[in-house]
Amino acid sequence: MTEIRGRGVVKGRAEGPALVADATLSFWGEVDPVTGCVIAVGHPLEGQSLAGRVLIIRSTKGSSATPMILNLAKLEGKAPAALVNVEVDSLAALGCIVNDIPMLTDLDQDPFETIRTGDHVVVDADLGLLTIRSRI
């Protein structure tokens, strides 16, 4: 088990397989809330489902409808379990607050070096802790 310290942005605890890319993402326009999949052409996560996964990216970007798409994805059961972002876009923070999705930032290790897609991770935003429970 590896523990990485961070700072909780939006409180809560969740776990799931990690989905990792050193990239930015707009939820509106680049994520389909009905399938939960990334639809942005040429994006490193293109075709991947966010549903139930811990999304580890640099930050969100783009559209202001990010909270809306997170909300629709949540209603459809396709929202990510938690967000781990290097930089905090106000829209990701808002989307996580209104949809009760834990969010973590300021990790003391480079998540793109230490976490791989498929690793099972636990995000505890109350304690500011990310735990890699098992490696793929």
Binding site: T24, G42, K61
Partner: protein, 416 residues
């Protein structure tokens, strides 16, 4: 965050459970973003769209749940003195016989529109509120959704708004306050990335290319453009839209041009970085090439008006189309606000565009509707970027003139 007694009371339910929830959204958001207080907001631009996801397989329950939330918001009144306009939709309220414009959802949207108007929102239904009367003054505190309009308001007008989502903009409209963080504060309006521009920018789409290039590098930061002339309103619109497509930019400066950048030094608040990136003629060509993934020349859609077209753009399109005919099998859409179309109707531009076989689409755009297409020509970098994934089309980004020529010919003829 320090709240006044009145704000605290609202949080505790003094004005009912919905406004307590709105206050909780603003306070929690402010706390995680580092705000120390709430400040008065004078101007909002909110999202109230019925999600047109039925055609994509969303459940009736999801749509109903979302729509109920919008109705709840619209059953309260906007704060006294706050100028509140409304963002673009996911469908058009005009007759358009495509599966993405489901009549039942159009009816829901009309009902929400009536409720919103009764609540004090002005139903502009546009992504470019600054083209239909909502033009905040320098320093005006705003709460705007629409990423491109946020950049325009901060950069071109000198107003102040963070990147808002639907919940925060609704809460701000009803409560008349926003958490003070980010670009609401002077010290956070300082440039973070110096972009030296040597390319000749000859059209709004060229300015879109500059924004698309710089947004990716700036991320959540503030690019400063140096060495470039004053853009027109349409050029500034394309620049701002593209910055908030490839990046998460809240604002930019143009040295010597925009209100808070009388000089390069002022744009960086005295701290001009030595390092910079350059935007050359080659960068301009490469940026266009990055949003052209066509494998053939036959086209079926030409989309103009992203962000929503100004009356000047509509006049230009009408003059390019006058007396000619869009090729069979090609949809030429000019997306705009209902208010701008009313002007175009009165001025005769709509009749010219329709006589040529084109259509002015109000309230939305084909990509927001997720209307299927195979190969799209568009003058908007934002539209080109998102259309690839949202409608699964090949795209060609091009200036307005070549886009219209492609519509008339039914195939892409190149830039010249």
């Amino acid at each position: 965050m320090e709240l006044t007694a009145e704000e605290h009371g609202i949080l505790e339910g003094a004005r009912g459970p919905y406004l307590a929830k709105c206050m909780r959204w603003l306070v929690e958001w402010g706390e995680v973003m580092g705000a120390r207080r709430l400040v008065r907001v004078d101007n909002t631009h909110v999202l109230l769209p019925v999600p047109n996801l039925m055609a994509r397989g969303a459940s009736q329950r999801t749509i109903q749940h979302y729509v109920d939330g919008l109705k709840e918001a619209c059953s309260h009144h906007t704060a006294p003195g706050c100028y509140c306009t409304v963002h673009t939709l996911f469908l058009t309220m005009d007759d358009l016989d495509v599966p993405e414009n489901d009549p039942a959802q159009v009816r829901m949207q009309k009902e929400i529109g009536e409720m919103a108007a009764a609540a004090g929102f002005i139903p502009t239904w546009t992504c470019a509120p600054y083209l239909v009367g909502n033009v905040p003054l320098k320093g005006e505190i705003c709460a705007w959704t629409e990423s491109s309009a946020v950049v325009y308001a901060n950069s071109i007008l000198g107003a102040r708004t963070t990147r808002h989502g639907n919940e925060s903009a609704i809460a701000a409209s009803l409560l008349g306050v926003v958490p003070e963080f980010g670009v609401l504060l002077e010290e956070n309006r300082k440039g973070t990335l110096r972009v030296e521009v040597s390319a000749d920018l000859d059209s709004p789409t060229d300015w879109g290319a500059l924004g698309y290039f710089a947004g990716k590098l700036a991320g959540l930061g503030i690019p400063v453009f140096n060495g470039v002339r004053r853009p027109s309103q349409d050029e500034a619109k394309q620049l701002c839209a593209a910055l908030a497509t490839s990046g998460g930019v809240s604002m930019c400066h143009i040295a010597g041009v925009t209100p808070e950048a009388p000089s390069l030094e002022a744009a960086f608040q005295g701290d001009v970085p030595a390092g910079c990136v350059t935007f050359t003629g080659d960068t301009l060509r490469d940026t266009y090439a990055s949003l052209r993934n066509h494998t053939g020349d036959q086209i079926d859609s030409v989309i103009l008006g992203c962000p929503h077209a100004s009356i000047r753009e509509i006049a230009e399109i009408a003059s390019l189309l006058k007396g000619q005919r869009v090729a069979e099998g090609v949809r030429l859409w000019v997306d705009t606000a209902r208010g701008t179309k009313a002007m175009a109707d009165a001025m005769g531009y709509t009749a010219i565009i329709e006589a040529a076989g084109g259509r002015i689409l109000c309230d939305t755009c084909p990509t927001n509707m997720r209307m299927p297409a195979r190969r799209i020509v568009t003058h908007g970098f934002k539209q080109a970027h998102y259309a690839r994934g949202m409608v699964g089309a090949e795209v060609i980004v091009a200036e307005t003139g070549p886009s219209v020529r492609a519509a008339l010919a039914g195939r892409w003829l190149g830039d010249d």
